[in-house]
Symmetry: C2
Subunit: 399 residues, 2 copies
């Protein structure tokens, strides 16, 4: 990151980060200090954070064998424990906030307002007949309906496990997949670089004896059980992915947080054994802290539920009920015709347009410099929307 | 528990458990099968669970040197992953549900209803100036106000960390207190028996290299760093507690979930370095999964925040906003005069009356048999309510 800082010192700025995750997109600024007002595309948000382009920390693994790449950390908030000075002169690329759909949600008015009387949702339990006994049926129904309408994931024959964000579900999956018989060494968890910056931290922060971070999946070739994380579209580089380890003893976990039609053309429903999704990326409601897993194997669903039981004794019902309303609205809005140039009431049309506009602006900005380049993706026709487009990820990877 | 099962087989039943945690209180039944309708005191709740008195599992540690004690597991839901057959003939004491304040919350009507529009609370962040950057200010204010009115804990000079229930905060505390330098052995975590049944499970389920369950604090005498959990009033036996380990190198964690005036006379504000509370026990809103920690040391608050960041990237904002409204109402209701025999709008008067009534009935029921006895507590005058009473715990311990 030293070179990066040098660029700052000579006041050649290219402010580029945007993200669903980051909630910001930026534009090229060649001369002068960066002012907070220049970081934009979230005008409604009063909580937009300064983006610190000078940070030494780097939460995204370097793309292997590519010394010239510049990584834009886009992970959810990390290393922000200390309140940071905001004098408007720095831009923080370490973390961000998905607020770009706020305008849409304001448009929906009361239709997506949730009302919870003081006496409701008091119980620990949602449905004790369900393996995931803290899963609200309304939320489960909304998930199934939405996947079936969008066609991005198979829900038939799957157990749904709800989590406090997909972060908790990730840890629940690790717990579920690792044998707890003492004596066995921790199972390796790998993912192809560049991978989501939080994976190593989330895997190793408790120094679990059940699992450990094993690094870049490209380099993993041990003949022992392992877990491979397949993030598709990938965070941070936006690419579509498949497993890379050619091992017999691996279990695959598919993180499909960005597999929605505003980011990538949907081809056919994903049909994997373990699939993770999150409300943060699909509708932008990060503050609800809600994710869900679609799990084929009953025993894995059961052990994931056990993890969440021991970790947090379930998941906020308030958030589940709210998310149920929001996801239901999204499903219903799919049938609506676009009413304006931003898709009107149709959520995915609105979101697609927002992302398309940002990527157009981002590519135009980057084209004005030779300092960076953006990845190029193959175009595809989306089976859901009918749009033919190249992926427009919620995150960027600049070289 | 074998003897317990024999009792069932000869159809001598004593159904005794009640709990805030269990949400049930029971009565003596000497002859005949137990029917679900006989388990009562929660008539409003349709979600009341069967209480399985025949369970082999026992989630509460045996009281040491007391072979005749019969433990009533009252922990939050555990081992309930399999949907259980409910033929009305068994009573499950393994878990329960705090629904006995539901009537009160129904009485409050719209005053405790929360309304959240679809565009609000979208951000990951609540207040980045705060160490706990995902803590909603409304919730923090409500906590401080309530503690100051009740006088059960010092809030001045404390950092507030919000968690997905006090369960998550417990794990956050362990993470915060244990040095992460590799090479050091895991720190022992101890608590005086009988202790909360979930402590050993929550401590050891990930086989962390940072900490490990060390068992009964009475038996701990190693000259090395340790963490002692002091639960007061205690779960499961309701006793007031202080640390028991006479060690120089210990750090105390006070779990004060039941330190509210419906359960025990408040004497003076608790003034410990690390104090844990939860909405589940104070107002009965278990489904919100919300707890809070009052932390004196900034670095500990910072590390706890880091844990929650890595574990779930924050805590449901929907639940925080809802809990803020509910706790604020509780604070305001304190100034109201009781309007009925159940305390009217004054929450703690209502809750005190509910608990008093249950304990009167429970003691009357137990007096009808020689099979069990209930603990006796010293009476005290509550500095908050002015009532002189002996503690009426949200949980029972029968011998």
């Amino acid at each position: 990151m030293k070179g990066h800082q040098n660029m700052l010192s000579i006041k050649h700025f290219l402010v580029v980060s945007m993200a669903l995750n980051v909630g910001l997109i930026s534009r090229v600024l060649f001369i002068g200090d960066i002012k907070r007002g220049d970081v934009f595309f979230c005008p409604e948000s009063e909580k937009t954070l300064p983006v610190d382009i000078s940070r030494e920390e780097n939460h995204v693994e370097k793309k292997k064998n590519d010394a010239t790449s510049i990584e834009i950390p886009i992970s959810p908030p990390q290393a922000i424990m200390a309140p940071q000075k905001d004098d408007g002169s720095v831009i923080n690329l370490d973390h961000g906030d998905p607020t770009m759909y706020e305008k849409y949600w304001k448009q929906t008015g009361d239709k997506t307002t949730v009302v919870i009387p003081g006496w409701q949702l008091i119980s620990y339990f949602s449905d004790i007949r369900n393996i995931c006994w803290f899963l609200e049926n309304e939320f489960a129904d909304a998930i199934v309906k939405l996947h079936n309408k969008v066609g991005n994931a198979v829900t038939e024959g799957r157990h749904i496990v709800v989590g406090t964000g997909s972060t908790q579900l990730y840890q629940a999956v690790l717990y579920a997949l690792c044998p707890d018989n003492s004596g066995s060494e921790p199972m390796s968890v790998v993912s192809a670089a560049p991978f989501y910056s939080s994976y190593p931290l989330m895997t190793d922060f408790l120094k679990s004896g059940l699992y450990k971070w094993g690094g870049d999946a490209h380099e993993f070739n041990a003949d022992k059980p392992y877990i491979e994380l397949v993030t598709s579209p990938n965070n941070p580089d936006g690419s579509s992915r498949e497993a890379v380890v050619n091992g017999r003893r691996g279990i695959l976990v598919h993180d499909l947080a960005y597999l929605w039609p505003q980011y990538t053309p949907i081809s056919s429903p994903a049909d994997h054994d373990i699939m993770l999704f999150t409300v943060s990326k699909s509708t932008g409601h990060a503050g609800t802290r809600l994710g869900w897993a679609l799990i084929k194997d009953e025993e894995i669903a059961r052990k994931m539920t056990k993890f969440i039981e021991l970790n947090t004794i379930g998941v906020s019902k308030d958030s589940q009920i709210r998310a149920a309303k929001i996801l239901s609205h999204v499903s219903e809005s799919i049938d609506n015709k676009p009413e304006s140039d931003q898709g009107g009431d149709n959520f995915f049309e609105f979101a697609y347009d927002v992302m398309a506009k940002r990527w157009t602006q981002l590519r135009a900005a980057v084209n004005r410099t030779t300092l960076f380049s953006l990845p190029s993706f193959p175009s595809g026709t989306c089976s859901f929307s009918g749009h033919t487009f190249q992926p427009q990820p919620g995150i960027t990877w600049k070289e």
